[in-house]
Amino acid sequence: MSSGGEDDYVPWIQQFCNLFGHDYFVPISQEFIEDDFNLTGLSSQVPYYREALYTILDYQVDTADDSSNSGSKNKGDLPNKALLAHSAELLYGLIHARYIISKPGLTAMASKFERNEFGSCPRLHCDGMHLMPCGATDLPGQETVRLYCPCCNDIYLPSSSRYLNIDGAFFGTTFPGLLIRMFPEIEHQCKLRIDKVNQDESGLRLFGFKVNEMSASGPRMKWLRMHPKSTEQKKEFDSCQLTLPSSDEMEEEDDDVDEEQDDDDDNTMASSGS
């Protein structure tokens, strides 16, 4: 069955992973692909599914260019080589998204993450935190691959354009979250970086002075990177456990936390007291 035997024979999976710009992918183990259970539902998403699967597994595949041993089929039913190559890549990508959330796949990706093969976070205060690939959706053909930084909890575009034609669905939305959960060391690394940053000192300065937040050019996005640090903030953080606290509660806490910034105290006191 297998077309191996030649000396310079390279398995399809290895070839695929060695392609330019495919260095985010890990090779999927043969057993994982051969288990039909892992492929549930993919046959409806990939054209020429069977042929594509055989291509990945290096089985003999009939194409329209050389249909020899299936005389009963007419040539129209068979894919041409370019179409088949595309289907195989799509199928591999979709299996890849499933493989990397299985135990062996996750481990393989974790060691790639450890070696910083996905690049580091461009953000200054993340201090070179390693990134992990993720997709914005699980459907192929929607968006290209993005990189998730667990430290700032945000997603970034890959720094090189060579990754701009890789589908985000080939990594999936689940992978980063699962990787963090499976390897608590990652969160520990993030925590060290977060604790190092003094969030009150960051932000733009003009001749050493901070710009007031009432100015249009003032700091308006501090919340995006904030972490609860003071006791009040931690209390507030606990109140966000399940839902966003209602605005009345918020006003009360508002008074507790930053009294000096509330310039019409009377008004708010009256409304919360009544």
């Binding site: 998730y148 909890n153 939305t173 733009l204 972490h227 966000c240 966003l244």
Partner: protein
């Protein structure tokens, strides 16, 4: 060093008239972030106050930058240090020049063209960046890039930019830039990312995002209370239904 400059210059096809030191300097790979400084600005000694503490032989260096004396006429062994110091001096003058009105206009043009690159953050949707230093003293910190949309600092993508001294752009530049060009202040995006596992948001991350949303709501409230319009305005936030919300706020205030 000087030879290296010449090589760079000859590969640059667009200029067959550039004998000028500044043009040579700007043509060097990695110096794309710099703008050219008017000769009058360099010639005005008032603008260079205090810079003689940073570099030796200030008058000679000024003459080199403004092409009054040719580097070739100098001693062989001094040439390299002179060229090196001339570049430092140019950088330090640059930090001052880009805070002037003419310099800001030149930098605005570069900003508009995206010469400083674009924000890598997905939700910033390729917002152009601005160069910024973390320190005004030379030789302390390298250049960083500032995104006005997420108000955050990023490391330059390319290695040849990340070795530029941040003091050549200064800490005040982006703030000055937006004071001068308020129309360039972006509308901020409120979206943020929460990691999901099988479609379910991770609890602690979404709790953190909720807390951050709370901080933002408090900020919005403070701003509205002070009569600052933040609905889809520069410096404000992208919002869907501003009218409904303001009415709501008014009722609550009553």
């Amino acid at each position: 060093m000087a030879n290296g400059v010449e090589e760079e210059f000859y590969t640059d096809s667009s200029s067959d008239f550039t004998e000028y030191w500044i043009d040579l300097f700007l043509g060097i790979k990695g110096n794309e972030y710099f703008c050219d400084i008017d000769e009058e600005y360099i010639r005005d000694r008032f603008n260079l106050t205090g810079l003689n503490q940073e570099v030796n032989k200030l008058p000679t260096l000024i003459d080199i930058i403004t092409d009054v004396i040719d580097l070739e006429s100098q001693d062989e062994e001094q040439r390299e240090t002179l060229e090196h110091n001339a570049r430092i001096l140019y950088g330090l003058i640059h930090a001052r020049y880009i805070l002037t009105s003419r310099g800001l206009n030149k930098m605005f043009e570069k900003y508009r063209k995206g010469d400083f690159g674009y924000c890598p953050r997905v939700n910033c949707q390729l917002h152009p960046l601005l160069p910024v230093g973390l320190n005004d003293q030379p030789r302390l910190a390298s250049i960083k890039l500032y995104c006005a949309k997420c108000e955050d600092f990023y490391n330059p993508k390319s290695g040849r930019h990340s070795v530029i001294d941040g003091a050549y752009f200064g800490t005040s530049f982006p703030a000055m830039f937006f004071q001068n060009f308020p129309q360039a202040i972006p509308v901020h995006d409120r979206r943020c990312y929460t990691p999901k596992v099988f479609g379910f948001k991770l609890h602690d991350y979404s709790q953190l995002n909720r807390w951050r949303e709370l901080q933002r709501n408090k900020l919005e409230k403070r701003l509205l209370k002070n009569g600052v319009d933040i609905y889809n305005k520069p410096g404000g936030f992208v919002m869907d239904a501003p009218v409904a919300k303001t009415d709501d706020d008014k009722k609550r205030e009553k």
